[in-house]
Assembly symmetry: C2
Homo-oligomer: 332 residues x 2
């Protein structure tokens, strides 16, 4: 299985490699009709297909980008990736997908490898921990876009939800429906995880503007595995919350598991809103009111920004906030 190269085509067509190359790249400006035909024929006869690696080496462009998410199993990431892939496909780019698992060492390894493989740019959900590396990237003007998380002090295009607003939308909805004792369940506030920080802040701000005092007992920040226990404690308070905001889909899952186990009647016993629109929200009983992220738009935006940078349309790095959307259903 000898692989056939441009030289073979050239020989077969009786022209030089240069001419074949011109032909392949559509630079027909001065090319004779018979030459074109001959090359076309030779390509067909030999079943030739160009080696893009060789081209990449010369052109310093691989038409490939890297996408590093925390975990592709998270629905939001999957949707973002799908949007990125669609956009890239329109521009003939491919995407290499990596799972960093919130592990800075893994993230660093991926970034280094991707660069070594000469990908033209990277979209990442950053761990936030590789500050030195991020700075290197911006210093060398490497095309990169962050998703979902802001790394303080780093000047890189970042696409994320207006998280404060997401929390505010939920709180306002609770209040509008007559709930004042609003609990919040969140995973641990490890540093670097923008959405959690901002949503909690948004929750506090929203309470304040509704003139509801913030009650620390109503805020549980625990590991996913302890959400249920923590919720249990919260509901056993002398004056427990009558409404609950789940900070993300995985937290919401825990609430629903707990509710089922305890035969808690959601919406009657306890109003519930989750941030992240889950697949079953509309047909759950009660249908779940959620605050949705426009994941596809966000992915598309990230891809647009990155490809623009790759094409050298320089713009100052910015933070792009997307509007969350209330999906009004039955649970509140």
């Amino acid at each position: 299985m000898k692989t056939i190269t441009m030289a073979d085509v050239a020989k077969q067509a009786g022209v030089s490699k240069s001419t074949v190359s011109q032909f392949l790249n559509g630079r027909y400006d001065y090319m004779g009709e018979k030459t074109k035909k001959r090359i076309e024929l030779a390509i067909k006869e030999l079943g030739y297909s160009p080696n893009i690696i060789a081209r990449s080496l010369k052109q310093k462009s691989t038409m490939t980008i890297g996408v590093i998410v925390a975990n592709i199993l998270h629905v939001f990431s999957t949707q973002v990736i799908r949007a990125i892939e669609d956009f890239c496909n329109e521009s003939n780019f491919h995407i290499i997908v990596c799972n960093a698992d919130d592990n800075p060492a893994k993230e660093k390894r991926y970034i280094d490898m991707l660069r070594a493989k000469q990908v033209d740019g990277i979209i990442a959900f950053p761990t936030g921990e590789n500050v030195e590396l991020y700075n290197q990237l911006t210093d060398s003007n490497y095309p990169i876009v962050f998703m979902d998380r802001i790394v303080p002090g780093i000047s890189i295009d970042t696409v994320l939800l207006d998280n404060k607003r997401a929390a505010k939308i939920a709180v306002d909805r609770f209040v509008e429906k007559g709930y004042q004792r609003i609990g919040l369940l969140t995973p641990p506030l490890s540093e670097g995880v923008t959405p959690r920080k901002e949503r909690i802040q948004g929750y506090k701000n929203a309470l304040q503007s509704q003139h509801i005092p913030f009650n620390p007992d109503y805020l549980s920040s625990t590991d996913i595995s302890e959400v249920q226990a923590s919720l249990d404690a919260m509901l056993r308070l002398p004056n427990p919350p009558n409404a609950l905001l789940a900070l993300n889909d995985r937290t919401l899952f825990e609430v629903l598991k707990y509710a089922k186990k305890q035969q808690l009647n959601i919406s009657e016993d306890l109003a519930l809103i989750g941030i992240d629109d889950v697949s079953f929200a509309s047909f759950y009983s009660p249908a779940l009111t959620t605050v949705a992220q426009p994941a596809f738009e966000m992915g598309r935006k990230a891809a647009t920004l990155l490809l623009n940078r790759i094409k050298n349309k320089y713009t100052d790095p910015e933070i792009y906030r997307f509007e969350p959307q209330l999906m009004s259903r039955e649970s509140c």
Copy 2:
């Protein structure tokens, strides 16, 4: 930003490119200690990182594989991809992810482009339509593995669920619980889509071995958008089914939407089993009995097979069937 190359390192260290290359590839056998040190230092000083594209051109291996799914948004695909990525990561491979959307033209384009980019192999959920192309690939001995779908007449490693058994497990469960009038809801039986064909066959076979006559009225094969209408009709039969098998997750969603709208009491009015274990199965009310695919094992197997082929460990192409697992819960 001049990029620094091996030549720069060589000059800085006062050795030849060959020696640097040896060093990078860990062929220290005969290398003097001082030489090593000098190279190491030069690399550090210059911040050198090798260009893997250049290496790939010479070595004819990119350490990258392509993964073509129908749609990454399908949970099963996402899980398979995650497993593949994990396995590849262990072997220092990267994956390029593509969505073919069950579109043969898109599939062909991806396969052609991936090969042009010299990926070392491909794992695909095949549309089944590009028979000529598949044959070319096997003829040229190109490493490829199929997932989920069998393409008749093509000899390629294929990893998929024991679909007949999945249907049988569900039917047997129904019968064991006393249900005999078992309906089946499936998306259209377009050719090439192995799982649907096989699951329907498995359903029929299982009925037979339970001595239950197959009732064509109990089998609905429609577009997803018409599942609800079709189910409605089925339940209005003079003698409607009292148990329902949803062929996959998306069909199950439609059943649940319908049940909610019609205030149908699942498990009491109608027993229900879905193939594909959905994220909310355990905390839905009633908790949903499902038949799960071992998606991660399957993805891992596909990756293992592919990397073995890439490493030239030739084996005859085979079909690998994975055991479905009953997740016994409340809906039946």
